[in-house]
Symmetry: C2
Subunit: 623 residues, 2 copies
């Protein structure tokens, strides 16, 4: 889902990604856009059957009808999204469209819906991917949660290292999946109608209905199947990435994608009837049952299962592009912590990637990686963003009144009403199964976003200096200035720090906290050898605590300072270039810095001393 959402949300394409990757031609663009939308075939038909199975054997007939209702909704969405392609050739997304055309809160609601959807894309797709593998190798069932979490951790690491999803290699598994599913559908129909082979169902189909047919049942089935539609908006978000004429290419891809979903989702639903697939909790998936009925234990069965798992992982991975980008743009607007706007060393948004993984893992643990229990949370978020995006587009057309605006406004208006209706159906039908969680979370997320924004605004206001006052700023001031250097012993790093300290101030104090009287005496003796006027203050700490007494002593010196005097603490820190060396050091200085900065008006400096690998270990330890 939300492949290349990046671009919509940002408005203009990312210069670096843009430059680095070639433009998509139609077959490649289709592959890139397809994974999220098509992968939902792996669970959507099964979810519909889970609801309808109470009808007994008639369930299958209604499966087909429900599937075609969903495909109808897909067509409406496709046409509506082609209008967005027309209006936002640089890429448009629900957050941006709703924000610009309705208002901030509508934008935040769409954003909150998307945030939840991204997290569920990871949880659902990874769990469904595990289902596909476990269907073939049932021995793994016991380790499902660990398996799914391992998948998420691997994706996290790959994304932190910055994988490029625009690599052409990603097209291969998509096409393997598409062609093997098509082959399964065609061969399945051929086997049934021409060869007249009707295998025994793997599980007994309940023949008696336990509930009678009702409009509510069909709506519930429909809302279960709507998870198949998450991901169709991806194309509209990536228009500028297509080869010229990009709008035309994007439209073609959109139509091809709709056709593929129609064929594969519709085909799978039809096969479920003939091959009597039954939804089983903790058992093989519906797709696996169909594939097994058609191919038995043949190689094609395993191809189907593996390519299903791989395409689900690719769908999962799209959230790792989309979510950090969404958080980047929301963060830039001030509605999310600024950390989400920092690019890590490898140009990936580390905070977004890690936040996504952590929340998805929590969901996986709580819901025990059970796809069926996660699904009710899934579609609601994305449909809220669909609805707000479409209503935003209606306003957009009304304001802009470009040529043909009325037709577009009508199309988006229909899209808005249909998605609103679907949102309401999903919310009502799935409320007690989990949609209520989303209904509670969205207002909470919006509230948090508004409070974050208010916080940043308040800070900006307090920090601000008017143009007039700028002229009055005194940048020639010379402070009275005391420098404190905490030292544990006299070594090359601490000597370096002391040299630096006395070079920036005439008033330097070295401070030492010893937990051991012997070490304290040794330090005093060695200090007396130095040719210096720097004062050494040394304290004995009987409680094995170093940081707290050190901070107390520094604060006492600071309290005794004159008005307007500046206190600087210089923390000597040696830097090792040995492998794993880093994790063994430097954490005391972190504590000191954070505490002093938080509580006092003290400048904290870190003086690095580099220990080179190559350097011969010149050891001067006193015998």
């Amino acid at each position: 889902m939300f492949k290349k959402f990046a671009d919509i949300l940002i408005g203009e394409p990312l210069a670096n990604e843009q430059g680095a990757s070639e433009k998509y031609n139609i077959p490649f663009g289709l592959a890139i856009m397809a994974s999220d939308a098509i992968s939902s075939v792996a669970y959507a038909a099964q979810e519909i059957l889970f609801v309808l199975i109470v009808l007994g054997a008639t369930a299958y007939q209604w499966l087909t009808w429900t599937s075609f209702m969903i495909i109808g909704l897909l067509l409406i969405l496709t046409i509506s999204y082609i209008q967005i392609i027309r209006a936002y050739p640089q890429g448009g997304g629900a957050y941006k469209v709703a924000n610009e055309n309705i208002g901030v809160k509508a934008g935040l609601s769409a954003g909150a819906g998307l945030i939840i959807s991204y997290i569920l894309t990871v949880a659902v797709s990874a769990s469904a991917g595990a289902d596909a593998i476990i269907s073939a190798f049932s021995g793994l069932a016991e380790y499902k949660v660990i398996f799914v979490i391992t998948i998420i951790i691997i994706l996290t690491i790959l994304n932190l290292r910055g994988i490029s999803e625009s690599s052409k290699i990603f097209a291969i598994p998509t096409y393997i999946f598409i062609f093997s599913m098509m082959f399964m559908i065609l061969y399945g129909l051929f086997k049934y109608f021409v060869l007249k082979i009707h295998p025994e169902p793997m599980y007994a189909v309940p023949t008696k209905a336990t509930e009678s047919l009702s409009i509510f049942l069909i709506l519930r089935a429909f809302s279960s199947g709507c998870s198949a539609l998450t991901g169709v908006e991806a194309v509209s978000n990536s228009v500028p990435n297509f080869q010229e004429p990009s709008q035309k290419s994007a439209k073609t891809v959109m139509l091809l994608l709709a056709a593929l979903i129609f064929f594969i989702f519709g085909g799978t639903s039809v096969l479920a009837i003939f091959y009597n697939a039954v939804p089983i909790t903790n058992g093989p998936t519906v797709v696996s049952q169909i594939a097994y009925a058609i191919f038995n234990n043949g190689i094609m069965y395993y191809v189907i299962q593996f390519s299903t798992a791989v395409i689900l992982l690719m769908a999962c991975n799209t959230a790792y592009t989309g979510f950090p980008m969404l958080m980047y743009i929301v963060g830039k607007d001030g509605f999310a912590p600024r950390q989400f706007t920092i690019r890590g060393k490898r140009l990936s948004f580390s905070y977004g990637i890690i936040a996504l993984s952590v929340v998805a893992c929590i969901l996986v643990i709580i819901f025990k990686a059970d796809t069926h229990r996660l699904i009710p949370l899934y579609a609601i978020g994305v449909f809220i963003s669909f609805t707000l995006g479409q209503f935003g587009m209606v306003n957009h057309w009304r304001k802009e009144r470009e040529e043909g605006w009325l037709k577009s406004a009508v199309i988006n208006g229909i899209g808005a009403l249909v998605t609103l209706l679907t949102t309401i159906i999903i919310l009502v039908e799935k409320f007690s199964e989990g949609a209520f969680i989303v209904a509670i979370l969205i207002p909470i997320i919006i509230l948090i976003q508004l409070r974050i924004k208010a916080h940043y605004d308040r800070i900006a206001c307090r920090l601000s200096i008017s143009q007039l006052n700028l002229k009055k700023v005194n940048l020639k001031i010379k402070y009275k200035h005391t420098v404190i250097v905490p030292i544990a012993s006299l070594n090359k790093a601490t000597i370096g720090a002391l040299q630096y300290a006395q070079s920036i101030s005439d008033s330097v104090i070295a401070i030492n906290i010893s937990t051991d009287k012997e070490a304290q005496e040794k330090l005093k003796n060695r200090w007396s050898e130095l040719d210096t006027d720097i004062q050494l203050v040394t304290k004995y700490s009987p409680f094995r605590a170093v940081v707290t007494p050190l901070l107390k002593n520094i604060e006492r010196i600071a309290d005794g300072a004159a008005q307007g005097e500046k206190i600087t603490v210089i923390v000597p820190q040696f830097v090792t270039h040995e492998r794993f060396g880093e994790i063994l050091h430097n954490h005391t200085s972190f504590f000191i810095r954070e505490t002093l900065l938080r509580n006092d008006d003290i400048i904290v400096s870190t003086y690095p001393y580099h220990l080179e690998d190559e350097e011969e270990a010149v050891c001067e330890l006193d015998k």
Copy 2:
């Protein structure tokens, strides 16, 4: 387990803990020491039965025999440990005893055994505590893993905040557990023999043996039951905490503890025979089955289940005192990362507490909080440390040759041989069930510890300055000195940093990276209003990355600096005192600092600007 292990490992008592808590009298000392050792009753008899049940109905007879073998081992351990109380009145522990009397690697092996035991104390006790609750409320079974992890997280938070386990309140649940178990044993015997009520067993006892009796089967049962003995060493570690005469009090407590284990563990094993308790995977525990058979659904049944859960949590909590202290002492010796020696704000060793919880949670997830599957890993670590501690004591007596040394050496020698034999039995019998993991981990842990030590020694050597060279140190040097201030805009915080910068150096450069041309222009205009000679360097970054181009520009300036010239980067940072404000800020400066310090010879300073809560928001934003 390992209650107050603290003290042993450190050799001298912790001044602060010592001062804060009163000395233990005998009843209170017993309660504090008992939780770990006595709580294992909750699973030990059941573990023995799990092995013996293949014998059919004869299993129960052998349960009693095995239990008494374990009680025999307990007596030997008790007498051996009384010798340690005599030799180490300040508290002695396996790491210290083995290290001092055998050698470093023996000490590290004992330490590694203890590290593993502590982690398993948390995983096993929390899981068994959950078992006790789930036995009474089977509906919770589905959420067991989450439940156990929640328990661990709560313990982590309490310990990070620094709870004092020496509070007298901890004696209450221990005595509730002891008295309710005693009551159950006495009433159970009364009901069976006097009232002649013989309830139907809850689960069918397998009457046919599926395996014949063999010495190997009994040894396997014995090794399963050895988990009951983890925790007996706690008393010897806490001698100085007892009321005077402390050695005599400690001995009394040790004997009382042995008597309690004898009565409760032996009594439970006997009741299991009469009331036909059957070990069930994922079902009610053996203790729960006995309690239910005796009290049915009465209040006493729930008292037994809850007090079992509470005492298991207290056992779990002892690891939170012991493990961080062990890591502290190992870290002080240089065999573990120095971070473990840092006390957090609340005088707790945060790193040790967090490391313990994380590893225990991973184990709980992997083993699905299944006590039965965790047990095989449990006893081996603590028995390795028992064995090494006892052998160390033999050497201690031989070296010291105090009065009566020969008797003590013989007692510890017997203890050493018996624990060695037990270690071998556990290792062989439980090898494939999980002990192999420990057998692999211990050498790995020792290897890592030795490499860490080598790393610290290497660093100390490279940093060292001989007494002679100290005299030659030039502490009057004045560096040529350039200061760089990265700024995003001109505000109170950046102005403060610039004022400070020009007060410590005549050569100051302000540097700005803009991702937005408009903001860049605005900054240039505002800069021109300033009355200053400071040079402003501003760069446009088209890739939305700020940190990387900033670092590149700073490094370029540093590369152009003269030999011996020092470069300081001053990062302005505003500090907010709003609640949650902290988590929204200051992460860019963290990246800048870490990267510059790691790669370059640049001093990094942080200039704090405090935004006070109370302060009226004086807003000077330009209209």
